[in-house]
């Protein structure tokens, strides 16, 4: 690693590619249904004729831009543009509804840039040692990681934890629909052939988050978002100040995002949710997560963008993609004849270090471009009449869901799930636990069955599930995340009682 690699990354071509990638990624990522994976996949063919480092810079820029772009629709429409932005809806949409959408968009931009830089720094400085973390994760660690993720239901359920747990179980059942990954049994389709393909996560996500909003929007004549009088398009300075005040949250969430990004299969959605939960767990008493708390947006957005750099670590060092877009990028590299592995950092160092510096540049470019695009996205969504917004978003949900697998059945499932989700939400069953179950169900099932088979074969089932150090650490964190909110709430009640006594 040296200045020559930085100079290579700063050539006019690479700068133009980084800029194009970030803008294209941001726009594609902001459209519900078009995930970061799809953004990278559709633009891969144009990289085949490029130099490997330039191709990587373009793909990395698209990826990081798309992850950030998902925040726009999450904040302004309550629909995560990409699954990574699920957590952004929790506080972003309430902020937009009360007239702070411009601030939320700017906060998301600062957090994404910060997270992206932390992830890229980890890739630059710690790639080889950190990649060994990914190798230490076996099936049982994935099982416990998914259970840790499911324990977040407790913090994601607004009001009623029991309903949250029931929703999580419903989500996991939905994840079982279709052909079983391990044994190829056809499950829970009840003879309906379009169900054999299972429930597509992104389509389900669009349905569960977007359709209820549309149903609520058409029912009453009220405006969709509150418009604040005399407010500029994007409140950059205010957002920067909030981000600076919450730097610890930003740093913690970015580290969480980087580490989860390293784990193959976990991805930005899990990272965002884990970081959100940690931010909520360590919140001050005056912070109200779920009601438009800026720290919630910062946690999710910094973590999901940190997974970009984190995910490249096992991809480049081990040839194991950390996230789905990394798998597409890995394929593109193989087409170009680039062999990933530790030697890439030694023999072919020029490619990888030029790319890492390119990723830094792309992430930094995301700040002006993100704020600029955010300004227009916010103004458009706020000023557009509801009469045209509703059918336009409805059309986007149909085309976006169809595009994932070219399947009309997916669109029907999306609409039905969304309508059911609306009814459920009206009776206190939130969408987030269902989505969490849907995402983590397959990871938990695969980890459980594989760990069971290995434990059974070695005659040490208990040791397999409870005897490995990383598993024990994750179990400890899970217990902590379940017990800590209870302790915290009791402590808060005790403090309030003491204060009341003192006042008396």
């Amino acid at each position: 690693m040296g200045l020559e690699h930085l100079a290579n990354a700063l050539t006019l071509t690479n700068l133009a590619l980084a800029l194009f990638g970030v803008v294209a990624g941001t726009v594609i990522g902001s459209i519900p249904g078009l995930s970061a994976t799809m953004a990278v996949a559709v633009l891969v063919p144009i990289t085949f004729s490029m130099a490997p480092a330039s191709a990587l810079i373009l793909l990395g820029a698209i990826y990081t831009g798309a992850i950030y772009g998902g925040a726009y629709s999450a904040i302004l429409l309550n629909t995560p543009g990409t699954p990574s932005a699920i957590g952004t809806t929790f506080d972003g949409y309430p902020m937009a509804k009360r007239g702070d959408g411009d601030l939320a968009v700017a906060i998301a931009c600062f957090a994404s840039v910060f997270g992206g830089i932390v992830g890229a720094l980890a890739l630059l400085l710690l790639a080889p040692p950190l990649s060994s973390v990914a190798l230490a994760f076996g099936p049982v660690e994935y099982l416990w990681l998914s259970i840790f993720g499911l324990s977040l239901i407790a913090s994601l359920s607004t009001g009623n934890v029991l309903k949250g747990l029931a929703g999580g179980a419903l989500g996991m059942l939905l994840s079982c629909v279709g052909v079983a990954e391990i044994s190829a049994d056809i499950r829970l389709t009840f003879g309906v052939s379009p169900m054999i393909g299972g429930i597509e996560v992104v389509g389900a996500l669009i349905g569960l988050y977007c359709i209820p909003v549309l149903i609520d929007l058409v029912a009453t004549p009220e405006r969709h978002l509150k418009v604040e009088q005399g407010v500029r398009a994007v409140r950059v300075r205010e957002a920067a100040l909030i981000a600076w005040r919450s730097r610890l949250n930003l740093l913690r969430s970015s580290v969480i995002g980087t580490v989860i990004g390293i784990l193959p299969g976990a991805g930005g959605s899990v990272a965002g949710l884990v970081a959100y939960s940690e931010a909520k767990r360590t919140a001050r008493p005056d912070q109200k997560f779920g009601d438009g708390e800026p720290d919630g947006i910062m946690a999710t957005e910094s973590a999901n963008n940190a997974t970009v750099g984190g995910g490249f670590i096992p991809t480049l060092v081990l040839g194991i993609p950390g996230t789905p877009p990394d798998a597409v990028i890995l394929g593109a590299l193989l087409v170009q004849g680039v062999r990933t592995g530790p030697t890439l950092f030694d023999g072919g160092g020029s490619i990888v270090y030029t790319f890492i510096f390119g990723l830094f540049i792309a992430t930094i470019l995301m700040l002006p471009t993100g704020l600029l695009i955010g300004r227009y996205a916010y103004k458009t969504i706020v000023t557009i009449p509801k009469t045209i917004l509703v059918p336009a978003v409805g059309f986007m949900t149909i085309i976006g869901t169809f595009a994932i697998r070219n399947s009309v059945s997916d669109v029907i499932i999306m609409i039905v799930l969304g309508s059911v989700g609306w009814v459920l939400s009206r009776f206190g069953f939130a969408a987030s636990p269902i989505v969490l179950g849907l995402i983590l169900g397959p990871i938990a099932e695969q980890g459980f069955v594989q760990a069971w088979i290995i434990g059974d074969a070695t005659g040490n089932l208990a040791g397999m599930f409870f005897g490995r150090p990383i598993s024990l650490a994750i179990i400890a964190f899970t217990i902590l995340s379940l017990v800590y909110p209870v302790i915290q709430s009791r402590r808060a009640k005790r403090t309030l009682a003491t204060q009341a006594n003192l006042n008396d």
Binding site: S183, I215, A219, I388, A392
Partner: protein, 152 residues
């Protein structure tokens, strides 16, 4: 005051019905797993089904003892909600027969009518119809030609 007391005393019937349906779903799953050939496919859905039934029973008990008066469908026009969802479903059913754009035009028109509370006149109808054509054509072109999605 009397109204509030009456509202608080009312049972949360919606939650009770939903939780009962979830129990039913759990029982159907437990029946379905008996048809699987491989035991590896059985363990996870069975476990989740038991968890769903258990949580739903607790939800019923909790909601019976402490009903939440805020739960419910709230105010708003039902025909607009139905029109929105029905037009989107109709678009899906029409898609294999008529192609993507004519089918989604049904959903778009349904959404326009459902969302318009201010009433219609010839000018607004033309403006919104034209806007719809532009939006649909724009996104269709993006997906069909730029992103290469094989839209029917």
């Amino acid at each position: 005051m009397i109204e509030t007391t009456a509202k608080t005393g009312r049972k949360d019937v919606g939650t009770l019905i939903i939780a009962s349906l979830l129990i039913g779903l759990g029982l159907i799953t437990l029946y379905d797993v008996t048809t699987y050939s491989d035991s590896d496919s059985v363990v996870f859905p069975s476990f989740v089904a038991y968890a769903l039934i258990f949580c739903s029973v607790l939800v019923i008990i909790y909601s019976w003892l402490k009903p939440n008066p805020h739960n419910g469908f709230g105010t708003g026009d039902w025909w607009r909600r139905f029109l929105l969802v029905a037009s989107m479903l109709a678009a899906c059913l029409a898609m294999p027969l008529s192609g993507f754009l004519p089918a989604t035009a049904i959903a778009f028109a349904g959404g326009l009518i459902a969302a318009r509370h201010e009433g219609w006149d010839a000018r607004s109808a033309i403006i919104f119809a034209l806007s719809g054509v532009f939006i649909m054509a724009g996104f269709y072109s993006l997906f069909r030609f730029a992103l290469g999605v094989p839209l029917p």
